[in-house]
């Protein structure tokens, strides 16, 4: 295949991946972004580097912060996909001494499989980053000889267990008895490194990765298959062929791989889960009309989706009028009781914030952040938690959160603006959002809970008749209760 065709295929991959994330699953970008908070601090770097695969993790979190904007997030993933494909192709040049390569399309397989793999929203970007680092090191390992003795621990520390790819590559390429020693040495490195850096993790994490997925207990099959396939593709592309492979065959292979990827994507991307993520993404960006439009076409029959659609209806002034048109599941579809995950509570938290219940908002956001399984902070959640603390005049925690946010890229400006309000009641009261929440919030301090939410709405409306949100939600709550009773 000539250079023009190769460039065309690689460009096609990049454009395709960009369009995939930008057009089909931008909510996944939002999900990844809001489940971490990259900080430009030495402590943050040191904390990541304290674990195997830490550099890949740090680098990936640096990249994921760019997911704050859809286009930059899609661009990052597109570039990663193309770089991985090029790294596979480049490594294939080491297989044959003459450097001959063929089947360019085969080098796309790991990148396309990665697209399928990332349908599992808990797969972190650190995994493709670690694989890219590892595959890129294949030519280095192939020539390293005994230098592998220091490259292996270093690679394991930087990229994690997928460093096995260049190790196996060099062993298979060399096929010498001393390479068996390299494998034994690798096993020792994995074990010793585990005891040294990850003693508070289960041992299987030393072999399958501490930070490749947000939920460590999960081990998707593709996490094991993709590195092996990458290795296979490198050898597949690098094996010497007697005849030149016709360009059309490469294009055909590429078409088959794309078709297979499409089928894989269909299987791997849970429609309902991604729909709920889409609602959350749109509500975060105040695009309520789009939530309604999506729900008109398809709405998952879950309380989380009902809550999001109902809130969007309210924000468009259509809640009472169009309530029966959409899926309803009683009062919990209006405001959810706290659920221990990192997505479900977000819409309820937002609407309770607007209605004047900052304390419950604080709990919902706090619990959502603590539900991020890998223990990361969230810029989005932390930002709203700072708001709740400012409204309450709890300046100590607010300052802590704002200081953290001020070390980030996209939350910094707003954090610095809000830091100026700390311990300045006049400044807080002058802020339109804070002033509004303070004006509609409870005037009396009493104990309550979710089971008395309708009563709380009634109190909010009675103490401030401008709080029409509390009034409308109260009325709809009663209607939904009636509907529940009739069922």
């Amino acid at each position: 295949m000539d250079r023009v065709n190769k460039a065309a295929l690689s460009t096609l991959l990049g454009v395709g991946v960009f369009a995939f994330w930008m057009g089909l699953y931008p909510q996944a970008l939002n999900y990844h972004e809001q489940n971490q908070l990259f900080l430009f601090t030495g402590d943050y770097f040191r904390e990541r580097m304290a674990l195997p695969g830490g550099f890949a993790d740090w680098l990936s979190e640096f990249l994921v912060q760019l997911f704050y904007y859809r286009w930059s997030g899609a661009l990052v993933l597109a570039v990663l996909a193309v770089l991985l494909q090029l790294a596979v192709w480049r490594s294939a040049g080491c297989v044959d001494k003459r450097g001959s390569r063929s089947l360019y399309a085969l080098s796309f397989l790991p990148s396309l499989l990665m697209l399928v793999h990332m349908g599992n929203m808990e797969v972190l970007v650190s995994y493709p980053v670690a694989l890219l680092l590892s595959v890129s090191l294949c030519p280095v390992f192939a020539r390293a000889g005994w230098h592998r003795l220091w490259l292996i621990p270093l690679g394991w520390w930087l990229a994690g267990p997928v460093i096995i790819v260049p190790i196996l590559f060099s062993v298979l390429l060399g096929r010498k008895w001393k390479d068996v020693l390299v494998l034994v040495f690798t096993a020792l490195v994995y074990y010793a490194g585990y005891r040294l850096l990850a003693a508070q993790y289960p041992m299987r994490d030393a072999f399958f990765g501490v930070n490749y997925t947000r939920i460590r207990e999960m081990l998707p099959a593709l996490q094991v298959i993709i590195p092996l396939m990458a290795l296979g593709c490198i050898f597949g592309c690098g094996l010497p062929m007697k005849k030149t492979v016709p360009t059309i065959l490469d294009w055909a292979l590429f078409a088959v791989l794309v078709l297979g990827t499409a089928l894989g994507v269909r299987q791997a991307y849970d429609r309902d889960a991604y729909e709920v993520l889409a609602y959350d993404d749109l509500i975060r960006h105040e695009r309520y009309q789009e939530v309604i439009k999506r729900a008109e076409k398809y709405q998952p029959p879950t309380p989380v989706s009902a809550c999001s659609v109902n809130f969007s209806l309210f924000m468009n002034g259509q809640l009472s009028a169009r309530l029966p048109e959409f899926y309803q599941c009683g009062t919990q579809g209006l405001v959810l009781p706290s659920i221990r995950d990192n997505v479900s509570d977000l819409t309820s938290a937002e609407l309770l914030w607007m209605m004047g219940m900052p304390n419950i908002t604080l709990q919902y956001y706090f619990d959502s952040m603590e539900s991020i399984e890998n223990g990361r902070l969230s810029g989005r959640f932390l930002s709203r938690m700072a708001d709740c603390n400012l409204v309450n005049g709890w300046y100590g925690p607010a300052e802590k959160y704002l200081d953290l946010l001020s070390h980030s890229l996209f939350y910094r400006k707003s954090a610095l603006r809000r830091k100026e309000m700390l311990r300045d009641e006049a400044a807080v009261n002058a802020d339109p959002v804070y002033a509004y929440v303070r004006s509609v919030r409870f005037r009396d301090d009493f104990i309550t809970g979710y089971d008395r939410l309708d009563l709380m709405m009634a109190i909010l409306y009675n103490q401030n008749e401008n709080n029409f949100m509390a009034a409308e939600y109260y009325n709809v709550w009663q209607r939904l209760k009636q509907m529940e009773g009739q069922r």
């Binding site: 706290s338 603590e370 309450n392 802590k400 301090d445």
Partner: protein, 483 residues
């Protein structure tokens, strides 16, 4: 000549600062507030910071019994060995601090302050605690840790990364002795881990005739018995801006487990439906069990009516039989509530919390530490250590000359550990927060609270690999009810 050394050193210190130095006749605004605190000899260096606008700090420490230290940097960072030597040399004396700070190129010197070095050594190895986000119902990272009090060395005993999905309750040692300790693991593979002299047992303490697993435990000094409360915990919200949540027990009973046969003593007087029994603690002679008891109300509606009295009951360590129950502090009659009674290990004092209501003082700003003289029965709030914000969980050092407690005084939410000493007359010294390197940054950046702190007289030894295997093996010893 010797007495001129401190003056000469101070002069040299001032001379070291280039440019003019202005003197302010005020105490420096240092963080943490270590001015006038009393520390044990050999404690970790008491590093401190000046306000952020000072880019440089210069500190001269001079001991009343000799020795001195000079440090300069972004914060007062004392070298470990030199600091320990200095405090050791000055046990029973004072350390005088001369502090200079540089702002906009200008040096300022403040009035000197002193730190007292107690003549009572803190012989314990360090402290243990749980670190947890100060929140609500969900925790992503949680762990039990031990910290060498004589250095900055902190190491995990167990972290939730090892046992994902399992929340862990507080580590409870027998009178600071880590050869006997237990903690409860909640979740799918939940159980109470009891470790004695390196031998571990995983006990399911929930039985058909008890409310649930034992949660808040206390060892009998003999090591055979463990008292524990069984209390399903819930929370509800405050609507105002004073505090976010209220934590309460929906029910609460008190049982004692015999570790010889894992049987529970369920006394009907301590497992009543209409009353809540909680916070057990044995006296050091093992003959008395203190606990708190309150009338049960409809929760959460009447949660602010629940007020605990301090009770005690005699205990026969041979048979496990309880004697007569008596009220020690009828605080509910005064509109107050007692929690966490902790007798000192020398049998002299009993420290406890008092708040307006409930048994979880950490969420109560008004919660304070109180002290009872066990010889006279007299009680008083420990004003020397209390603050306008909450003081909560507390424990004694093995020799009962020091105590530690958790407090939210720093920022109102994130809990820190404070230490203070007590003399034979019950007078306590000004407390100091657990020392850290670059403490302002450390405490400002940390996103976890220090929970349920305790002293440990030696380093806790714990086989995490073995624990991992055992947690997921689900091999458990089922507790029974003693007939």
């Amino acid at each position: 000549m010797k007495r001129w050394i401190p003056l000469l050193a101070a002069l040299l210190t001032v001379a070291a600062c280039k440019g003019s130095t202005s003197y302010v006749d005020l105490l420096p605004d240092i963080y943490p507030d270590y001015i006038g605190v009393t520390v044990p000899a050999g404690i970790a260096p008491m590093d401190f910071n000046l306000p952020a606008e000072y880019d440089r700090v210069l500190v001269q420490v001079t001991g009343s019994n000799g020795g001195s230290l000079k440090v300069q940097g972004k914060w007062a960072r004392f070298p470990l060995r030199a600091w320990r030597k200095l405090t050791g040399q000055n046990a029973g004396g004072t350390l005088q601090f001369t502090v200079l700070g540089r702002k906009d190129g200008q040096w300022t010197q403040w009035r000197d302050f002193v730190m007292y070095v107690s003549d009572a050594p803190l012989t314990d190895y360090g402290v243990t605690y749980r670190k947890i986000a100060p929140g609500y119902t969900t925790y992503s990272r949680i762990g039990l840790y031990q910290r060498d009090i004589h250095s900055f060395q902190e190491e995990p005993i167990i972290e939730s990364t090892l046992t994902p999905g399992q929340c862990m309750n507080c580590h409870t040692a027998n009178a600071t002795d880590p050869s006997q300790f237990l903690f409860h693991l909640r979740g799918k593979h939940g159980a109470t881990l009891v470790q004695q002299d390196g031998h571990r047992e995983w006990v399911t303490t929930k039985t058909d005739s008890t409310l649930g697993n034992m949660a808040y435990c206390y060892w009998h000094p003999g090591g055979r018995w463990v008292a524990g409360s069984i209390n399903p915990v819930r929370q509800c919200f405050w609507t105002g801006d004073q505090q976010p949540i209220e934590v309460f027990d929906t029910a609460s009973d008190l049982v004692v487990m015999d570790l010889r046969d894992h049987s529970l003593i369920v006394d009907p007087r301590l497992t009543t439906e209409d009353w809540l029994e909680s916070s057990p603690a044995f006296t050091p002679d093992g003959k008395t069990l203190y606990f708190c008891k309150a009338k049960a109300y409809d929760v959460p509606r009447q949660v602010d009516s629940i007020r605990y009295d301090l009770m005690r009951v005699s205990f026969d360590a041979e048979t496990g039989a309880f004697g007569e129950i008596e009220t020690v502090i009828p605080s509910s009659g005064n509109g107050r509530s007692v929690s966490f009674p902790r007798p000192s290990y020398d049998g002299r004092w009993l420290m406890y919390n008092e708040s307006d209501f409930g048994v979880f003082p950490i969420d109560h700003k008004e919660a304070d530490l109180w002290l009872m003289d066990l010889a006279t029965g007299q009680t008083r709030p420990i004003d020397e250590v209390n603050s306008p914000l909450s003081e909560s969980f507390h424990n004694w050092s093995s020799d009962s000359r020091w105590f530690l407690f958790s407090s939210r005084r720093d920022d109102g939410l994130y809990v820190q550990v404070y230490l203070a000493s007590i003399d034979e007359n019950g007078r306590c010294t000004k407390p100091f927060v657990l020392p850290q390197r670059n403490p302002r940054k450390f405490y400002h950046d940390i996103m976890q609270s220090y929970n349920a702190p305790d002293f440990t007289n030696a380093r806790v030894r714990f086989d995490t690999r073995g624990v991992y295997r055992e947690v997921f093996s689900d091999q458990r010893v089922q507790a029974t009810v003693k007939p």
